[in-house]
């Protein structure tokens, strides 16, 4: 069963220079109890996708959203997150759909103790009274393996380290036992050892609760270890989507191939001498204000041909539950067939 199915999601913003498509025609699915990762560089639209799904985009930017996002709630009812009335969406947020942000430093309110912040969500959605919410908040802090949890309950965010704050954020997100957790670069602001702890914790919680995770990241190493399915985004569009193993074993889209080639471990196979330079994709992401007429990756692609410049390629199936947005891949497939 799919916990969330996103169909043809597009989000655009009004800017002084005209309308910008931050996300265009994005479709993917998250299976129940599984993790889908959205991978892409800065500006690829991955964060906007997650904020659109949560309906948390700023109202000031004259945002235009189209598409559908079908979420299966606890009762088994199918709801379109993008069409739900705000009041029902609010009841869902923090309750069945929770979110963790990139910056644990600023996503906690500095004037409330962490216990109060976790308790707020519990009182809001579960209707617990003060004492019960506090007890439950303590249980949540213990669940996320917070050292000296009882003492931390009354501490303020500035008294905690970055890793501990992210644990609090996770406790906050997990408080109402969500079925879908949207994690927007949850480990980016943390150092590597803490990253590993947090990721391990999220995995443990997923195994215990059976929740689905939408994992937004630019870290391919994290994706390889923690995702079940991967969606690669470039310039607001999905360029490739595949289950994690096939994707890393045989990336289809030139962008995915280049991304994997950028990894230091890929640049140097065991036993080989250290390469002089790491591989880097040449050029820069095209400005969203003036997107290329054809494939957005064409200006940076080593395998581009004239046809690439003519039209945006379709997202075509390239194998079992695999898709890629590249005419050369599609052509190679038809040749082989």
């Amino acid at each position: 069963m799919n916990r969330l199915e996103v169909h043809h999601l597009s989000t655009s913003f009004a800017t002084d220079e005209g309308r910008v498509d931050a996300v265009a025609d994005v479709s993917f699915a998250i299976r129940a109890g599984q993790t889908t990762a959205i991978v892409g560089e800065s500006g690829s639209g991955k964060s906007v996708t997650s904020l659109t799904l949560m309906r948390l985009l700023p109202r000031t930017a004259a945002t235009r959203v189209s598409g559908e996002a079908w979420f299966v709630d606890r009762a088994g009812e199918r709801l379109d997150l993008l069409a739900l009335p705000e009041a029902r969406m609010r009841a869902l947020r923090g309750n069945q759909v929770a979110m963790i942000f990139q910056e644990p430093m600023t996503s906690l309110n500095p004037v409330f103790s962490v216990g109060e912040q976790i308790a707020e969500s519990l009182r809001l959605h579960k209707g617990l009274d003060r004492a019960a919410a506090r007890a439950e908040a303590l249980r949540m802090l213990e669940l996320v393996e917070m050292p000296a949890a009882a003492q931390r309950l009354d501490e303020y965010p500035h008294q905690l380290s970055g890793g501990m704050r992210q644990r609090v954020m996770i406790a906050l997100a997990m408080a109402c036992d969500p079925t879908l957790l949207i994690a927007d670069e949850p480990t980016t602001a943390l150092d590597v050892t803490i990253q590993a702890q947090i990721l391990k914790l999220m995995r443990k919680l997923q195994a215990e609760t059976g929740m689905s995770i939408l994992f937004v990241t630019h870290n391919l190493g994290v994706v390889a270890h923690h995702a079940d399915d991967v969606v690669v985004m470039y310039a607001g569009r999905v360029v490739e989507s595949a289950p994690v193993r096939p994707l890393f074993a045989a990336p289809a889209h030139p962008y995915t191939q280049s991304l994997l080639a950028c990894l230091p471990s890929k640049a140097r196979s065991p036993g080989q001498p250290k390469p002089a330079r790491l591989f880097a994709i040449r050029g820069q992401v095209a400005s969203p204000l003036a997107p290329p007429p054809g494939c957005a990756f064409e200006p940076r692609c080593d395998r581009a041909i004239a046809a690439c410049r003519e039209a945006v390629p379709e997202l075509l199936p390239t194998g079992e539950s695999r898709q890629a947005r590249c005419i050369r891949v599609a052509a190679a497939l038809t040749e082989a067939a």
Binding site: L56, T60, R93, G94, M99, T106, F112, E120, M169
Partner: protein
Amino acid sequence: MRLPVLPLVVRKLFRRRIVLGAAIALAAVIVVSLLAGPLSGFDPNETAVSQRLHRPSVEHLLGTDELGRDIFARIAFGGRFSLTIALLTSAGAVLAGTLLGLVAGFFRRLDALVMRVVDAMMSFPDILLAIALVGILGPSMLNVVLALVLVYTPRVARVVRASTLVVRELLFVEAARAVGVSTTRILLRHVLPNLMSPILVQASFIFAYAILAEAALSFLGVGVPPEIPTWGTMVAGSQQYAHQALWIVLFPGLSIIVTALSLQLLGDGIRDLLDPRLRKSM
């Protein structure tokens, strides 16, 4: 906001000597005002022409004014009115200004409308606006408070709006939304507590300003009626005798300075204490 146990807070607050001094001075002013009658033993409005312009003495602690009224009694009774006016003014201005500022800062559509009105009000010199308002409403204590609230509300509104604009963009507001908190609750529970520092500073400023402004209004003759002793009317009524009997204006003037200064210092101390981020450094 839930504070830790009270005695601990007080001890922390008074760890700074100057804050402790300010609190003691303010407490003294309040006690003297409350116990005005028994402490002074004089009726503040009782005139005795034979006793006019007496120097401070054992009988008249701070001397007498041009009508032979006991200055200590007048300062003590006047404190009640001056402090009441200041308290009501700062409470009223902070309430109204915070509401306006929050709304203008958080709901961007109302911003232009609210702030243009605020700007228009701020374009008048403070005292001039208050004089005009009291002139229209007529001199009474309530009208003075009303006029001063109107004068100081825009000031608070500006500061609160500016701080709201900063706080509303912080990630924890978005995080609160992601937890499903309603807009009203976000405003009251998440944004407002983060504005307590600037609001408290404004409140203590306005309290001090209001004492001075009331004095200025009374001095100009558009304040409270002359039969009510306030520190302002005392300075105003006696200024022409200042060169021969300095104590007439010195002591009410000192009362204003001491009270205003203590309030500022205490306000700063409380601000530092209320902000959990500054608490550690204290």
